[in-house]
């Protein structure tokens, strides 16, 4: 770790840190140097770290709909990255060093410690409100329906509220009068006096949209599970700001209706409340819920005390996809059981989110939710614009090179040399490409993408659960049963039948 120069503590941001926090900066922060004209952080990169410029400067620009806009510049003593460090959001813009630039880099854990300092937090929040708030608001599906100008109009009415652990934000049956977007921490929604949980809301998850519709009562009690920061917009704000624009109010009400319908779907499988004897600390809980794993459907979870690191799972994923690109990566969030040290990894693979940011971002009808609740690609519609990979908070979507003429979506591999054997080669699966072409999407769906003249940067790919095959290749081929697809909430509460995180 590089020596942190003492001048750092003279910066306005750090000057009021207490000695313990200063020590943390000295031991945990690092210095990074970025040569002139090089990119320090890419738009949509998932960095989750907070950076302060000690020397030099960077320009911030963002690609939107094929256009590159310069958003501004940061100079010495400026900082950025609070959105990612606090709310696990991908970088909203690309940052390029104008000259040789030195950064002080605080990883997420350190940032969260420093954020407890009132002065530090005040300054960070002020920049957040000025630069990142409108970007962040668009995370909530309800705000996606608003144009940037409309968003700016409500920006000044957004309040930033913080709660300690165990505080009630809204009571079941009470009047829903505001929309909340969780910045950090976690909120549980329980009903019937806490007997059953309707769901969790964690960073970047919103609730209260029903206030914009006829259904005005809170469906449950919203209570913080960890210290939690939220953005709050009162419903009256929408009525006041858009009083002259009934169209906007109508769009908002319709979007809210859609969100509630999704919620209704979610709550059919009401599960029992997590018991207090769960041995996870608030921090670990926050890691899991903070990355929406709890909220997502089922995730690929790797038991790190059974995984022999043979890589068979990743190789199996490669081998069932024609493009030879794995949809699975063994990197991901590690969760450690507080008492036993038992560790699981939430592998980087699609969570089939209940609110799929990728689907919301795609303008070409290339992503849809099927009746199984899975998020699927209509390969032919994908124009390679990368909006989905930018939107996915977990970075699970990657791009393949543009397909050759006549090629359809990645289907399941047969060994190419077997396919070349005259007559019998077809038996080994030559026909599967044709099957894939038949299966994916209706002709209307396909037509949409083709009408757009967008330059393709390949095709978006993500875990497709090996759809159509009688196995999930990664789970099927693991020699030690280390990788399983399971609802992470069950792992968290020690209720999974496989005892992934057993209460030793």
């Amino acid at each position: 770790m590089a020596d942190i120069p003492q001048e750092v503590f003279a910066l306005p941001l750090f000057e009021k840190l207490n000695p313990k926090q200063k020590k943390l900066v000295e031991s945990e922060a690092s210095l990074e140097v970025c040569p002139a004209d090089t990119v320090f952080a890419h738009q949509s990169e998932y960095l989750a770290r907070f950076c302060v410029i000690l020397q030099g400067g960077v320009t911030m620009y963002r690609k939107e709909g094929g256009e590159t806009k310069v958003l501004g510049a940061f100079g010495q003593k400026d900082w950025f990255g609070e959105l990612g460090a606090l709310s696990n959001q991908p970088e909203p813009a690309t940052l390029r060093a104008d000259t040789r630039t030195t950064f002080l880099v605080c990883e997420q854990a350190l940032f969260k410690q420093l954020y407890k300092n009132k002065h530090f937090k005040g300054l960070v929040d002020e920049t957040y409100r000025r630069l990142s708030l409108s970007v962040h608001l668009r995370v909530a599906p309800i705000f996606k329906s608003l144009s940037p100008a409309e968003l700016r109009a409500i920006e000044s009415h957004v309040s930033m509220v913080e709660y300690d652990k165990g505080r009630v934000i809204a009571e079941e049956g009470g009047e829903a009068d505001a929309i909340y977007l969780v910045r950090s921490g976690a909120v549980s929604c329980t009903k019937d006096g806490g007997k059953s949980i309707l769901g969790y809301h964690m960073a970047n998850s919103s609730f209260g949209e029903r206030a914009l519709t006829g259904q005005k009562a809170w469906p449950g009690t919203y209570e913080t599970m960890a210290p939690t920061a939220v953005l709050k917009v009162s419903v009256s704000v929408f009525r006041d700001v858009f009083a002259q624009e009934p169209r906007v109010l109508d769009v908002l009400a319709r979007t809210a209706g859609f969100i509630i319908a999704e919620e209704m779907g979610e709550t059919t499988g009401v599960f029992d409340i997590a018991h207090d004897d769960s041995a996870f600390s608030a921090d670990e809980l926050e890691v899991m819920v903070g990355k929406q794993s709890v909220k997502g459907g089922e995730a690929l979870v790797i038991d790190m005390h059974s995984c022999v690191r043979c890589n068979a799972c990743v190789e199996a994923c490669v081998s069932v996809h024609d493009d030879r690109v794995p949809r699975l990566s063994k990197t991901g969030t590690r969760v450690v059981h507080k008492e036993t040290g038992h560790t699981v990894t939430l592998a980087t693979s699609c969570y089939n989110c209940e609110i799929p940011e990728c689907m919301m971002a795609c303008e070409y009808g290339a992503i849809r939710r099927d009746v199984q609740g899975l998020i699927r690609y209509v390969w032919d519609n994908c124009v390679g614009c990368q909006m989905c990979s930018t939107a996915c908070p977990y970075g699970v979507i990657s791009m393949t090179p543009p397909p050759r003429a006549g090629e359809t979506e990645p289907s399941f591999q047969r060994h190419w040399f077997l396919q070349t054997i005259p007559f019998i080669g077809k038996r080994f699966g030559g026909s599967h490409r044709a099957d894939a072409k038949k299966d994916e999407g209706t002709s209307e769906e396909k037509a949409v993408g083709k009408l757009r003249g967008v330059e393709s940067r390949g095709k978006a790919i993500k875990c497709d659960l090996c759809a159509g095959l009688p196995f999930e290749a990664c789970v099927y081929n693991c020699p030690t049963q280390a990788i399983v697809r399971i609802n992470p909430e069950k792992v968290l509460t020690g209720r999974d039948s496989r005892g992934l995180l057993p209460k030793h």
Binding site: V33, C34, P35, A36, D37, T38, R100, D192, K195, T268, G269, V270, F271, D272, M304, H305, S306, C307, V308, R309, A312, E315, S319, V320, T331, R334, E339, T340, G341, H342, T343, D370, V371, Q372, R376, F412, Q413, R414, H415, L418, F428, G429, H432, D435, K438, D439, C466, A467, G468, L469, P470, F471, V475, Y476, N477, C478, P479, T480, Q481, A482
Partner: protein, 342 residues
């Protein structure tokens, strides 16, 4: 067994299998036979031909199960195992799921209450759309006070069984075969094919035992080792730094690049040589940044090497196990042919 560092945690999942009980029962029955009748192992004086044949055939059967696992693994890897032929169009999959949803609604609405009826209806729905070979229905009692009485779940069928079942079979029947080889051959290291077979079997089973030990204890050790940085993350970080280094070279004067490159492979003296070069070319633009990046890359590469070394150690036993197992298989065939012919 609880160790917050996780180092002492055994990979218990490796041993939890009914194949273990079956393999144990097979071995015990032969040992019981020996004890009850007093027959010696192998061809010791007073040997029993029936016992010899029985142990021989049983060993062969166990070896065949092990071989079946290996075949299943590679046939699947090549994409030519039969389950690939079961692929169904996604449209059919979705239509079947729509029907399952209708059944779920009936369950929630209380018009379908009997578990058997729910199961029948769900199975019929899958069959109607030809997806019954890839999906299997499971009916579970509802979870929670407000939930429907039954949950209708559809899981992949995993037609050939998951690899870990095969792995368990390999492990336990392989071990049992090792014991039976001893009972069959008497453990004597005599000259000739019998002795060769015994030695080969000993090496295969011995290396397998080492493998079991590594696979049982390795994961927890690796996890404890990787607490700060996993090998996968180190690899990604290394790639990232590699890109940055390449970009940083462009900022360095061309005349200096070759000299810096020659430092890339330097050992312990990297820092000293870098310092010297920096002093020599004081003021050269971009050089300090490039050395900072090279230094970072070296540290990450060293960590990656350390982790990968540990990983390969966990699998090193296979270097002996696999080739010797192939030779053993060939020797068993020769032994079998010679026994049957002569």
């Amino acid at each position: 067994m609880s160790d917050p560092g996780g180092r002492r945690d055994l990979n218990r999942r490796l041993f939890q299998s009914w194949h273990g009980a079956i393999a144990g029962a097979i071995v015990l029955s032969f040992v019981g036979w020996m004890l009850a009748t007093g027959v010696p192992a192998g061809r010791e004086p007073g040997y029993d031909r029936t016992f010899l044949l029985a142990t021989g055939w049983a060993t062969l059967a166990l070896f065949l199960v092990v071989l079946l696992h290996v075949t299943r693994k590679y046939v699947h890897k090549l994409g030519i195992s039969p389950e690939f032929r079961m692929r169904v169009p996604i449209g059919e999959l979705e239509r079947a799921e729509t029907e399952l949803n209708a059944i779920r609604r009936q369950v929630a609405g209380g018009t379908l209450t009997d578990r058997g009826d729910v199961l029948r209806a769900a199975k019929t729905a899958l069959r109607r759309h030809g997806v019954h070979k890839i999906l299997r229905v499971e009916i579970e009692p509802g979870d929670g006070p407000n939930a429907p009485a039954w949950r209708v779940l559809a899981h992949p069928t995993f037609p050939l069984g998951k690899m870990f079942h095969w792995m368990h079979a390999h492990l336990f029947y392989g071990l049992a075969a090792g014991v039976l080889v001893f009972l069959h051959g008497g453990g004597a290291l005599q000259a000739g094919l019998g002795g060769v077979l015994t030695v080969l079997a000993l090496v295969v089973v011995g290396s397998g035992l080492v493998g079991i030990w590594f696979w049982a204890t390795g994961p927890a050790r690796m996890t404890a080792d990787e607490r700060d940085l996993s090998a996968e993350k180190a690899f990604a970080l290394h790639e990232n730094l590699e890109r940055k280094v390449r970009a940083a070279y462009d900022d360095v004067d061309e005349s200096l690049r070759a000299e810096v490159r020659s430092l890339e492979d330097a050992g312990e003296d990297f820092a000293a040589r870098a310092k010297a070069l920096l002093a020599k070319s004081a003021g050269a633009s971009g050089l300090t940044d490039l050395f900072a990046l090279l230094g970072q890359r070296r540290r990450v590469a060293a960590e990656l090497r350390r982790l990968m070394r540990r990983r390969s150690r966990m699998h090193a036993w296979r270097v002996l196990h696999i080739p010797v197992a192939i030779v053993l298989a060939a020797a068993v065939v020769v032994h079998l042919v010679s026994v049957l012919r002569y």
